[in-house]
Each structure stands twice: as structure tokens, then as C-alpha cells.
Amino acid sequence: MSAILVYLEKRGDAINRASLELASLARTLSQAFGMPIHAVVIGSGVAAGAAKAAAAVGASKVFIGDAAHLADYRPRLYRRALEAAVASSGAGIVLMASTAMSRDMAPRLAVRLGAVLATDCSEVFVEQGELRVRRQQYSGKCVGLFTLPSSGVRVVTVRPNTYSIVEAGIATSIVESVPLDVAADQPTDARVVAVDNASANSESAAPQDVTEADIIVAGGRSLKSAENFAILEALAAALGGAVGATRAAVDAGYQPHARQIGLTGKTVAPRLYIACGVHGAIQHLAGMRSSRVIVAINTNKDAPIFEVATYGCVGDLFEIVPRLTQELGGGGG
């Protein structure tokens, strides 16, 4: 019988939160198709925590690719490890969180396996006995409903923050660990020579990619300078979120490209998006309109950002944001 294989992406010393969010979906699909849940972990020194992480997504078996040469992500090497896991597991459905890494690797895996791929899905469900997904197209201006074949391997990547983490309640008895033998790389694979933690402020504050953040505090050109983004950093810190920016703010040099949200930047869907001094150009809305709750703070009551916002404050962000930070028990203000 084929299985559902959940890829548990290693992130720093832990498993990426976005991977653990796949638990409830894995369970739904497992019940609908009568398939067991398996998990796979790849990295160096990952064996120790693998069974616990696998249990968190309800897996009965975990495939572990643990070797020194697997420490850093390399596209072909990781693809090969996953390919081995799919073969050992007999997986029919592979679930991954849609992270920068899986977006880079999943297409290679799908081609290799002759699988059908659905990337960055905002909804995955079973209807009329078929595996179906919804995903945004045309920068969020349309939502496409797609169906996947009922046989063969299907690879589905799910947008982070789509499902909540199941804190408890999945009863997993014993997780069987299966080591994967992944040969060292071909010399032609891209090789990591350096890692940039530029946006890491400290050990405790891991660099957070805006696409995976639960809460985003975003600023536009009306912040007026790179230094003024400090008030957004303070609010983000108080909320445990990340800072994002509009294209105008990035073009003005206030923030790095990596934090740009919108059409030519990143697409995000956090639980809470606080837009500070963001006008709401169509290109920016394209990147954040599917956020669950949107707060807009802007002096212009006619700014288009209010059309997508859940809550709106017409006022000066320089007055409101520090008070908000204070209200939340953060410093400053």
C-alpha cells in the first residue's frame, strides 16, 4: 500500500515549523485514502530528534538521511535523498512545506520520479475521491482549482501558515526509524561555500524569512529612512514577527530585497499583517492579500490598503506604532 510521505525540513537545530503544520493535512489524507503516514528527515546530526518530529506529524515510520555530507542543502544531493525515501516508503503522496528549499528541490524530484507536482498550495483536500488543490495564480488575482491523478506519485507543497500546528492529539504509538543510504555528491552539484546570516540579530532571534513568518510588520516609503524602520523592528520583536517592506521602500534603500513583499518580491500569507504607511499598490496587494488578518495604519483614509484591511487606523504611524509596541509590552514607545 502506498504511503503519505511528509518531508520534515531541517532548519537550524530544529525541524522547520512549517513542516510540522502538515500534520493535520497528512492525517486527513491518510484517513481519506487509507494510507499510512511516513516522514523523512535529511541533514547532519538529525537522527536524534527524528522520531519525535515524525511522531508530531503522526508518522509510523521515519526515513533518516543523516550524514556529514548532507549538512548543507544541495539541490541534486537532497533530491537524491528524497528519491531514496520515496522508493523505500512506497510513497504515493509527498507533502512538503512550500519553503525556498522545497521550491528549489520539488520540481527536480517530480521530474525524476515522473510525478505530478502542485506547488505552493493554499488548500489541499479530497473531493469526489480525488486529491485536489487550490493555488493562487496571476499574483493572487485568481485562484486555480486543480485535480491530481489518482495513481502514481504526487508531490504537493503547501504554503506555510495554511494549517495550524496540531499541538497534541495525534496518537502515535511507535515510530520505526529507517536509515537512508545517500551516496556523497557528484562533483558538479552546486556546493555551498558560505552561509549568510546577515539578518540574524542574535542567537535567539533566528533569521526569519518573511514567507514563513506568522506575523509581519511591513513598512512603505513613508517610513522616510532606513533608521525609522527601527520602530517597526520593535513592534515585530514584541509580536515575535518579521519585518517586510514595499518595493518603494526597498528601491529607496530602506530595506534589503529579501524583505520585499509584492509582485516582484515575496508572496506571504501570515496570520497577521500590519501595514504601516503602506499605500497599497496593486503590486504590493498581490503579495499579501491572502494574509488572515490585515491591519492598515495610514494617514490617507482613501489609500487602497484599506480595501483589503480587516482593521484600519487613519493616523500617523510614527505615533501609533510605538504605542502599539508599548501596549503589547515591548520596549520603546
Binding site: 525540513e9 537550524g12 535529511i42 548543507d72 542543502y73 539541490p75 533530491r79 521550491r103 528549489d104 528541490m105 520540481p107 527536480r108 517530480a110 521530474v111 505530478v116 507536482l117 502542485a118 506547488t119 493562487q136 495564480q137 496571476y138 499574483s139 488575482k141 485568481c142 485562484v143 486555480g144 482549482l145 486543480f146 562533483p187 558538479t188 552546486a190 556546493r191 555551498v192 561555500v193 552561509v195 549568510d196 546570516n197 533566528a206 533569521p207 506575523i215 530585497h257 529579501a258 509582485l263 516582484t264 497577521l272 496593486i282 503590486q283 492579500r289 491572502s290 488572515r292 491591519v295 480587516t310 482593521y311 484600519g312 487606523c313 505615533e319 501609533i320 504605542r323 502599539l324 501596549e327
Partner: protein
Amino acid sequence: MENQRMRIAVIVKHVPDSRVSVRVKADGSALEQDGLKFVCDPFDEIAVEQAVQIKASRSDVQEIVVMTVGRHAAAEALRHALAMGADRAVHVLCEDILPHEEIRAAKLCAAAIHQLAAVGRGFDLILCGVRTTDNGAGEFGPALAECLDLPHAGAITQMTLDGSRARVRCRVGASTGSIESVFDVQLPALMTCERGLIEPRHPALPKLMKAKQQSIHSMNLSESSERCDATLVKLTPPPARQSCRMIEGDASQMARELVRLLREEAKAL
């Protein structure tokens, strides 16, 4: 590559201009084509610019070949790339390909590249956008690399070429938890280009006019009937949002009320 001259391929896609709004056909099968303006994808423009800059900075670049997989009308994207500085264009014709069929496009493109390599040398460097603004999945680049059995570097924001070795900065974190990594890649390889890599030029009118006259090599290729992409059931506009609830008062009152609503009503904190 001392004796061999470098050949670069850039793959582009003809996509609806993302700056304008789109409408869905009543039956949900596709976008309403009426009034839809198509352009060369902005991420692919970055790839074209990168290729043109490499050619300008090195004496050993033999040619830049721009390729696309798509309908007859997609030739416009090729002409745009020619006007930007590509040397010649190859059009893999496929009238019924849908925007989300990225793996199918990669397989067709790989078949075309194999066929071109059979009569000449293969490409040393293949560039494309990290994703396209129509489907947004970014499956094409890594899929093409796999089809061609080449290494790839995804989402590059910086690139330095030293002979046949490239050092690139990628917005694909290593397992250590970073958000950017630096990779060394030995050519031949494929790279997908992210915004921030280079600012694409706007070709001048005479160049656009000249590109209109250039011949385009068209290819018709057979493909396997095997399904490699999901099947579109229906396209719909995104669900409408409830209207915005405005919070009144001075800055302190607004902050207090907002935190209360986020905690109690929206349960977002």
C-alpha cells in the same frame, strides 16, 4: 573553456502584464483574453540582462540564444529579448500549453535543447527567471535542470564568473537556517534569476524595430501523452473580503483598541 567559446541560453515566457487587472472567463476555463496585454516575464528579463552583461564583460561568449515554449504569439517575448541583446531566438511551438504546465514546458524545452545540441555544442550556461508572474510556482527552472541532468543554482541575487566556475549568492537557505547562501557551481549549469541580481534595460525603439525583422527558428516537437502537471478544473477570482473596520480615537486609544480586537475578536495574537 579556454579553447571553447561559451554559449548561453536564456529561457523566457510570454505572460499577461502583471501590472493590469485580469478577468476570468465565465466558464472558469482561463483568463478572458480580450484586452489582455502580454509581455516578456519581468523575472526572465533579469535573466536576459544577466546574459547580455556576461557577453559584454567577456571575450569568449559565442552567442546568447533566447528560447521560449508557447503559442505562436509568444514570439513577441523572444523579440523583446532580441532587442535587449540576445543573438538569436528559438521558438518551441505549443499551441495548447497552459500557464501552469511548467513541467510540460520544461520537458519540451529540454527536448529542444537536446535537438539543438545534436547539431552543435550544448549550452554552458542556461538562465531563466526564478518564477514567472502568471503561475508563480517557479517549477520550470529546477525541472529543466533535472531534465537536462545539469546542476542548478536557484534564486540567484549575485553572480561572478571565473572561467567555467560561477560563484552565486542564492536566496535558498542552507539547512543551517540562513536565508541566503553562497554556492560554487561548475558550468555547464542552469541558474534561476531573482530580483536584485541586475536591473534589466528598456530596449530603445530602433532595437525593438530591428528585432521585429530578425528570423526566429521555430520547432515543433512531439511529446509523450503522460500527464506531468496537475489538471486545471476551474479558475476563480479570489474571495471578497469583508469591509474594513475603522478604529477611532487618538493614537493611544487606537493602539489599545487594536490590541483588544486582535486578541479577542480576530484571535490573531
